[in-house]
Amino acid sequence: MGLLDKKYHDSNIIIVPLENALNWARKSSLWYEQFGLACCAIEMMATAASHYDFDRFGILPRSSPRQADVMIVAGTVTMKMASRIERLYEQMSEPRYVISMGSCSNSGGPYWEHGYHVLKGVDKVIPVDVYVPGCPPRPEALLEGFLKLQERITNETVVESKPDGK
């Protein structure tokens, strides 16, 4: 959870509401990086457009990675692109998340077997938080991916987990 990640050893009456507020803020304002790779990018645009409307969830596009919270890897990642994606990910500021959209970036998709120039899953170069299946995923599926990411953010904590697993 970014800067405050695991900074506290105990949960207490102040930290819990603070944590809730911070998590609420982060999950309600997920700005994604305006960055399309292939077919899925068209569906990503469709999701942002009037009919599905990303903005309802507070999701906005940002064209500079510095201001983005979540990177949607929308499309096929090729060998030539892989290092760029890694670099873009490094340019994003913490806390940052990655949604892998579509089969191609999940695993290589239809290019799994013969795609000599296709990276078999974007998770080989950057960590992925949510995988959205589909080729391409419907806009509803991408929204579901965002809801899953929100769920994940809600459960994040600033408290360090104890060695005994509590």
Binding site: S28, S29, F57, G58, S64, D69, S93
Partner: protein, 343 residues
């Protein structure tokens, strides 16, 4: 206002501090509202809903955004000039905040009723250019640099028509003190029912207002003149390298700037805090209401334009300024002066 604050607070210093903080509070509340409004206006123009999930119709969206920006990592690029990079957002905010000092919010509140109010305001807003260039140069990023250079050229050029149109108002009003300018616009005497606002007093002031409005669109980097941060060309212009709250401050300053220039327009052309219905709903509190309402209407028009028009190119922007607005504003200035001499 200051007397009232002195009465309820233990010391004069504290009263002064609170007095000075009022615009700050106003800016923050306004920014929260304006950013939400911008998104709602955009959404409804585009046949969408806009933020819906955070509170009623997403009213808390901006609060969430700000709280999130506060948590973001504060990245300073390795090759950036560290001091200038950190300093620029504050300078830009200070510039727009300081300018609010001379704005008469209502008959009961003005930060400082100095005699050179207009002059002070125009001088202090020039700092915006400086901070934008500072941010752009310090980022050590080519996109930022291009954005900064565009911004410098744009703001320096558009200051001329802004000042000329402001001057034409001053010629009519005869004072640089914004409070005085507002006070002389009270009453409903033009044609028997129209308020005594300057825009109705002189036909050429209508032209002056158009020039003024176009210039403030350019000064506050709004479409069709949003070249310094034009997304499709320069990624994010001078803000490209900024992240987290530093970027948030740029955003805040941009919206504060919009409000500031709109309010200036309201004071100069639309009677400031005067009620449009003569003495009906008049008074310091109602005055504040009318003042903000008029200001927000202008802000709304700016948003409306933003979501309708495409963007100009950098050379066209300059041509509009130097070939059309500046000559027009000079001619208009002379005409206003003549009108004032004759009538």
């Amino acid at each position: 206002m200051i007397e009232f604050l002195e009465n309820i607070t233990p010391s004069t210093t504290m009263a002064l501090v609170i007095h000075a903080m009022i615009p700050l509070g106003l800016i923050l509340v306004y920014a929260l509202f304006a950013i939400w409004m911008e998104r709602k206006v955009a959404a409804h123009v585009q046949d969408r809903l806009g933020p819906m999930r955070v509170g009623w119709h997403g009213w808390a969206q901006t609060i969430a955004d700000m709280l999130k920006l506060l948590q973001k990592e504060d990245i300073i690029p390795t090759d950036a000039s560290r001091f200038l990079f950190r300093f620029a957002p504050f300078l830009i905010f200070v510039a727009s905040y300081a300018a609010f000092a001379v704005i008469p919010f209502s008959s009961g509140y003005i930060g400082s009723s100095i005699n050179i109010g207009v002059f002070y305001l125009l001088a202090i807003t020039s700092l915006l250019t400086l901070s934008v260039i500072m941010a752009a140069w310090a980022s050590n990023n080519k996109w930022s640099l291009l954005g900064g250079m565009r911004s410098a050229a744009q703001m320096v050029s558009y200051e001329v028509p802004t000042i000329m149109s402001v001057l034409s108002v001053i010629v009519v009003a005869g004072s640089l003190n914004l409070m005085t300018v507002t006070e002389m616009q009270s009453g409903n005497e033009i044609l028997g029912f129209l308020p005594n606002w300057l825009i109705f007093q002189n036909p050429f002031l209508l032209v002056a207002f158009v020039i003024f409005f176009v210039s403030i669109l350019a000064e506050s980097h709004r479409v069709p003149f949003d070249l310094p941060e034009s997304e499709s060309e320069l990624v994010a212009g001078y803000q490209t390298e900024y992240s987290g709250m530093r970027w948030g401050i740029f955003m805040l300053a941009e919206y504060a700037d919009m409000l500031l220039l709109s309010l200036l327009g309201v004071v100069l052309f639309f009677g400031g805090w005067n009620s449009p219905f003569g003495t009906f709903m008049d008074g310091p509190v109602w005055g504040f209401f009318w003042f903000m309402l008029k200001g927000m209407l202008l802000v709304f028009v700016m948003m409306w334009i933003r979501w309708t028009l495409p963007r100009y190119r950098v050379d066209q922007l300059m041509r509009i300024c130097w070939n059309i607005l500046i000559p027009a504003s000079f001619v208009n200035f002379v005409l206003i002066a003549l009108w004032e001499m004759i009538f």
